[in-house]
Symmetry: C2
Subunit: 525 residues, 2 copies
């Protein structure tokens, strides 16, 4: 058995059975080994940023890591932005980067570069394999690092000769459970003093907010956090861009902190205690001249009940117990969906239509940016669904994350709410959707501009003339997404009125496989 075969078998034995890849020559033995280990599902992407974003989306929905396979330093570079987003999502990823054979390195051939230094930007674990016999163990170590908690990007650099040589050893893992999935450690036990201090704040009568992130945004932990907020009268916020938020009718509603620091400050105004549950203390996305970056109000005490490396469930349970919160205290979101709009198509009409038509169990990959601002509101009472956000702020995430989510959850409909500027970053994701026949409906918000930057120009106080505004303009020439999608094998249609959009979206959601509905809308600002 060669190294590649042992590596892939070890991964599969540990429940990592999906690999998003764009291989090159140095990865050919890994690719050849796919025929020896048919349990590894390999998904081809036409650009590494699609592969890494898909691994992130997969991890968010499957709760376990996928592998990637990238080609040397430049391939890692191409995948870096979405690994950055994965890092900010605490998504576990086993990021495999092929390298030249160890014997070839000293020649500094054309594709040679320092892979480790790039990997460190996004990875808490970086290891270059040095022996074929150790590859199985290397894979297990990378996987252990990836699952955390917190989940991280673990980069395993795989020299070609380590991969192609005989002598691979499969490691069957202690981390495996009978179902074949990885069980990550639960994290550090709750800090009892922090729990008591938070409980005391929640009982104090002073204005207190519970601020949830990451794992507290899904499943029973979301319910317990909502119960605590309801029982104590605390304001209940979620982080601005959660990796995955369960929402919709029947679930406890939670308001996300606004992207714009001005609005976030209004939401937090007067809060005297901020209780963090697997969330980072809120800061503004960017700095603005003369404005504070820290969004915690002056005089507010921050209580960290659970951080990313802690057992968030146990911490929430301890806090609920300390406060004697009755389960089921939280209100539930009523099922209320908007009417279908009519007339001219606007960003608001798109979001309203989305709220009216979103199917139960949908997964929304949200990179709608300015035009998508109305979407959380208009879908609040839609059937239960998941919402995946742009965690790291690096655009080009939405379509790749949709690919990965659809691979992880093949029985659910994925809706990619995507804006023109961001879509152009990783448009190649559409081809993978077509190739894998994934049930992904892309709503492409085409306003012909980097609208968020037009807004930011004002916010940073830059005095912008026509040459500056030209750099934010996508209208010259106009981007036409329907032919681009068709060129990659997808069904696509353009909507110019609200009625057309509703028709096309309904059709797209009812049809198996991927499609694109391009919504022609004016910029919001």
């Amino acid at each position: 058995m060669n190294g590649a075969q042992a590596l892939i078998r070890t991964l599969v034995d540990h429940g990592v059975d999906t690999c998003f890849m764009n291989p090159g020559t140095s990865e050919m033995h890994f690719v050849a080994a796919l025929d020896d280990v048919p349990d590894m599902h390999s998904v081809l992407a036409l650009f590494e940023g699609v592969a890494t974003g898909a691994a992130d989306g997969y991890a968010r929905m499957a709760g376990r890591p996928a592998a990637t396979l990238l080609h040397l330093g430049p391939g890692l570079g191409n995948g870096l932005a979405n690994l950055h987003n994965a890092r900010r999502a605490f998504s576990p990823v086993v990021n495999i980067v092929g390298d030249h054979a160890t014997t070839h390195r000293r020649y500094d051939a054309q594709l040679q570069s320092d892979i480790e230094t790039v990997a460190r930007n996004v990875s808490t674990y970086v290891h270059t394999s040095t022996a074929t016999a150790a590859l199985g163990a290397d894979a297990q170590a990378a996987l252990a690092a990836a699952v955390g908690p917190p989940g991280t990007v673990a980069t395993l650099i795989l020299p070609a000769d380590i991969s192609w040589s005989e002598g691979g050893v499969v490691v069957s893992g202690s981390a495996v459970v009978p179902g074949g999935t990885v069980t990550p450690p639960t994290g550090a036990a709750p800090d009892e003093a922090a729990v008591r201090a938070a409980a005391s704040a929640l009982r104090s009568g002073e204005r207190t907010a519970i601020f949830i992130g990451h794992r507290a945004c899904v499943g029973p932990d979301l319910e317990v956090a909502a119960d605590i907020a309801a029982a104590t009268g605390a304001t209940f916020f979620a982080e601005t861009f959660p990796a995955r938020l369960e929402r919709g009718s029947g679930r406890p509603p939670v308001e996300r902190l606004a992207y714009l620091a001005e609005f976030a400050s209004m939401q937090l105004e007067g809060v005297r205690h901020l209780v963090l549950i697997d969330a980072k203390s809120p800061v503004s996305f960017f700095a603005y001249p003369g404005k504070r970056s820290d969004l915690v109000p002056e005089g507010c005490t921050v209580h960290t009940v659970a951080g990313p490396a802690d057992d968030a469930s146990a911490a929430l349970a301890a806090l609920a117990a300390e406060l004697e919160v009755p389960p089921g205290s939280a209100t539930r979101q009523q099922a209320v969906v908007p009417d279908l709009p009519t007339g001219p198509l606007t960003a608001q009409a798109v979001c309203q239509t989305m709220g009216a038509l979103l199917p139960e169990g949908a997964i929304v990959s949200d990179e709608g940016n300015t035009s998508g601002l109305f979407a959380p509101g208009s879908t609040a009472g839609s059937p239960p669904h998941d919402w995946l956000c742009l965690t790291g702020g690096a655009i080009g995430q939405g379509l790749p994350v949709a690919v990965g989510a659809a691979v992880a959850a093949p029985d659910r409909r994925v809706v990619a709410l995507e804006s023109d500027g961001s879509a152009m970053y990783t448009l190649q994701a559409w081809w993978t959707m077509a190739r894998e026949n994934l049930d992904v409906t892309t709503i492409l918000l085409n306003n012909h501009s980097y609208a968020v930057l037009n807004m930011e120009l004002d916010r940073v106080g830059a005095d912008a003339g026509p040459r500056a505004k030209e750099m934010l303009d996508l209208a010259r020439p106009s981007l036409e997404f329907v032919p681009m999608a068709q060129g990659m094998g997808l069904h696509a249609a353009r909507a110019e009125t609200a009625e057309q959009f509703a028709d096309e979206l309904a059709k797209a959601l009812a049809t198996p496989g991927p499609s694109v509905v391009e919504a022609m809308i004016p910029p919001l600002m």
Copy 2:
């Protein structure tokens, strides 16, 4: 004057008057300053890899650096692969990466990451600006590093507050000549002993090869090198992927070393002395099991007459003087163009047609990969032209380099010889071509496969089954480049016969502005 204004003015004063960019919020003051310094030509790209590849193509044709403007660590990641290619091309690039305000860093906001560590992968110079007043001097230092010799990527990291604060100081440079262009130092003087040793080898009667790279592939240096080879009877080779090679009728012909190590070894068989002129000693692109990476034959002595940091012109002049080589010794390429082919369209027919129609002064950006193998042969006797190669092996270079070359040489026709798999990496370049109305004709070789990898699978000795081959297949679904190009505002046509291809290519070359001719061809292997 704020920092951004001082930075841009300093760059312009030093002859850096073109900036390829994809800015974000942290770069908004740089963007706003474009209105204050109208001499800076700013070109928007929809993806950073287009911006960095364009800076590379610009430097290869202009002989001086462009600037880039990228958005934080993820933007640099997106641009990394083409900066890698620029590094391998010794192209000078002033690579400006915006960062959060210095006061914002401690909050570890979503887009925060370690930019310097990523930059080191491609840059010999990395500096994070720390004071607004020093920005002009920082720009000058980055520029000095960039121009070399050898030319390099110099990365200047620009925190938002350093950029937006008042107190910028323009530095008018000692490196400026009246024409406004940068004059890089000429490099180290020739090593007289090395020159004498090479001359002795060339006189020895043993088989000797002159191997040229980089600066020796253009202008008078190419002529002198060819004269020396002709006068001494040496074999005359150029490196496999020169950054820029001047060729065509009336110029001294030079054979490039083959990409495939098997063929390169045949070319070098029996060579007892290898004289390097601004070229690296030849090594195989990848390692293959059981094969040598070093392509220098056993027993062959390598003579380095000029390395990348040396004065290659002076070294060549010294060698010619030592050997008393009469100027004009070299033969000149005859003007011979192939007939237009007829019948089914194949890779060979595409290249033959290209040879028949290539206009004088054309610049070919060659990322034709396997299907482009016949192009150097079929264009050898075409009117004088430049040939730009995939220097670093990171695919996705061809279209961006074509953008930059066209910006640098607006009176010349650029032909991007591009293959399907590589084109999909940075297809967004087409939009910039349309926006800037660049005279770039893309020949899109569509063979529906990563054909080079099908070949490499065999060469690395991997035993590939159907699942492996599936990872190299681009036919399911079929990529249709005509609608994708149209969606970005370009004229595009598909050719399925040799006659159609000749018609469409002739029309495209005769029409101002960009267009795409998609050639539907069977894979070579």
